[in-house]
Symmetry: C2
Subunit: 329 residues, 2 copies
DNA sequence: TTTTAGCACTCTTTGTGTTTGACTGCTAAC
DNA sequence: GTTAGCAGTCAAACACAAAGAGTGCTAAAA
């Protein structure tokens, strides 16, 4: 339903007051600050109407109005001005990505930290879709007793030392070739599937393969990769002064709940906003990476978060990541 | 100064009451719980005496006694019973280390998490002394355009992909040999020293070397390696309900202050306890690793922490780490 | 029909005084 | 040296009043 211009203006005032300090705002203050041309009584009438529509509410009879989650939603969808980041802010974000990052895990960690710092809210970045896909397996001789197993995946390299005696350089090479042939293109979990352990191709290198599995096991996450940053930022907002609420917020960020909440994303960055569940709001930017993966960057903050800024930051970071991952080797 | 047996008993009662719930204890309660054979008046006299000695104090005239930092120290040094971990607790700790861990960084992370979970306080584990020492550098061909740089150090393996065309397998091997010869035994920071970049030995592989440096830069920490776990555990204790105190505690744990606070450690595990600075207590276990490194595992918690348990856990974990690192390849 | 002034009403916040109860500290007797 | 007993202190809990902020409603003005 379309609101009148005046109602929009008033709702905007209530929401923005809420965003600024989390405090209720009164009809008188609205009048003084935003609409000196009508009386506070008129504004009161409008406020009552907005309250009936469910956009704002009262804590008690004689307190000012605060926005409901619905009100925030309306604001986000229709009233919010877009916010352009300052050059300085963009530069600040970019500066975190100057190093040539090819390792996707690292990109995620860096992104989470960057987003959290830029917005001053917590941030969760995770990768969905297919997990790490094996590209190449190499075995390198370090000494007569120890070899290095290197598993190259599309999101990074896992390398681990194994102790292995009496294996010639030639054997290593052959084993690596077989392993690569067998596992290239498969998800990394495949390494742990029983059927390969007893397969014909690997029978000759069974001991070696067992050691490799043992070394690599647990070095990768089976679940979607996830990076969290800025959990302590919640402490900057009075709505989390209550230690229980703080705990809940942090728990949510650490849980899988956020992950399960997102769409698959399209080619382009898709912004989704969830307002007010569990006293938290989440702005998420999701899009497809190559290799059937999805990247989702999220800002998690109080309901009165600066949505416009969160969106701008997510877009900026997403664009940067896109550039980085597109020119990936 | 040596306290009388009775004073010791009373001080012990005051400290243990403080540990249990952080609440003051009254002369009457002490009498009822611990010394029914003397009157509360007698206990009051003793309490006054202990107060004069600086071991306990008053919040206000009519509140019970709480221990001072001095009192906690006295308790820790002279009155505390040693606490043996239950079999279950030991098993729980051990279970975190069953995987064969050879990467020191990983051991540290795992240790911090284990300690924090076992004690329910925050934990900081860090390595001092010399940083990572290069053991071996390998260059592996992945494809015609991309190669893998592997730097094996005594605390773990760093591997990174670099894009590099027109380099033959032979060149790679030769370059790796030269690099290993040049850098083996040197700290990893040496890779970034200018003088090597312009050195005679590397002149032929300057481009390759530059790329390697670029790829590896920032993958290791120059500062002592550090692992922190369980910051959120502070929230379980009412003394940190005040958000400012919570922030301070977390800030301290994230800062370098704890690191700079420890001795070099000896061959054996050396336990050090610091009570009550900034409303926090730290129990640290430090000892030498091979390769001139020092490992320090710390429990950081409220002043009323369970020191005996912290010590037991640190000892258990330290022993486990020692075993792991001694049999390192 | 919309806007406004004005007033009654509600509820929080702040302040004040009172009571209760938990302790201590002291004194005098044991 | 120990104890009983009592006065004194202070925090915590409660009740009450006053002040202030803000609304909702009504009736009049535009």
């Amino acid at each position: 339903m379309k609101l009148s211009k005046r109602k929009e203006k008033i709702l905007k005032a209530v929401v923005e007051a809420g965003m600024e300090n989390g405090e209720p705002i009164s009809s008188k203050t609205i009048q003084e600050k935003f609409m000196p041309d009508v009386s506070s009584a008129t504004i009161r009438n409008e406020l009552m109407s907005l309250e009936e529509l469910g956009y704002i509410t009262h804590i008690h009879t004689s307190s000012g109005r605060v926005p409901t989650a619905e009100g925030y939603k309306k604001y986000v969808q229709e009233l919010m001005p877009t916010k352009k980041l300052t050059k300085k802010e963009v530069a600040q974000i970019q500066s975190n990505f100057t190093n040539k990052l090819v390792n996707l895990n690292e990109i995620m960690t860096r992104s989470a930290q960057t987003i959290s710092d830029a917005c001053n809210y917590a941030s969760v970045v995770y990768m969905g879709g297919t997990g790490a896909i094996i590209e190449n397996i190499k075995l390198v001789e370090l000494s007569s007793t120890s070899k290095l197993v290197v598993v190259v995946t599309d999101i990074g390299v896992i390398s681990e030392i194994v102790s292995l005696e009496n294996t010639s350089q030639k054997d290593l090479e052959e084993a690596a070739t077989i392993l690569t042939k067998l596992f290239a293109g498969k998800p990394i979990e495949a390494l742990e599937e029983e059927r390969y352990l007893i397969s014909q191709e690997l029978i000759k290198y069974k001991e070696l393969f067992t050691k490799i599995i043992f070394a690599i096991a647990g070095k990768y996450e089976k679940r979607p990769q996830i990076a969290v940053a800025g959990k302590e930022k919640f402490m900057d907002y009075p709505e989390f002064e209550n230690i229980q609420k703080l705990k809940n917020a942090i728990k949510l960020v650490d849980s899988d709940e956020i992950i399960n909440n997102t769409s698959d994303g399209g080619e382009d960055v898709e912004i989704k906003i969830s307002v007010g569940d569990n006293d938290l709001s989440i702005v998420s930017a999701t899009y497809k990476l190559k290799g059937n993966k999805t990247l989702s960057a999220n800002v998690v903050g109080p309901v009165r978060m600066d949505y416009a800024k969160a969106i701008s930051v997510l877009k900026e970071v997403s664009d940067t990541i896109k550039e980085l991952t597109d020119k990936e080797i």
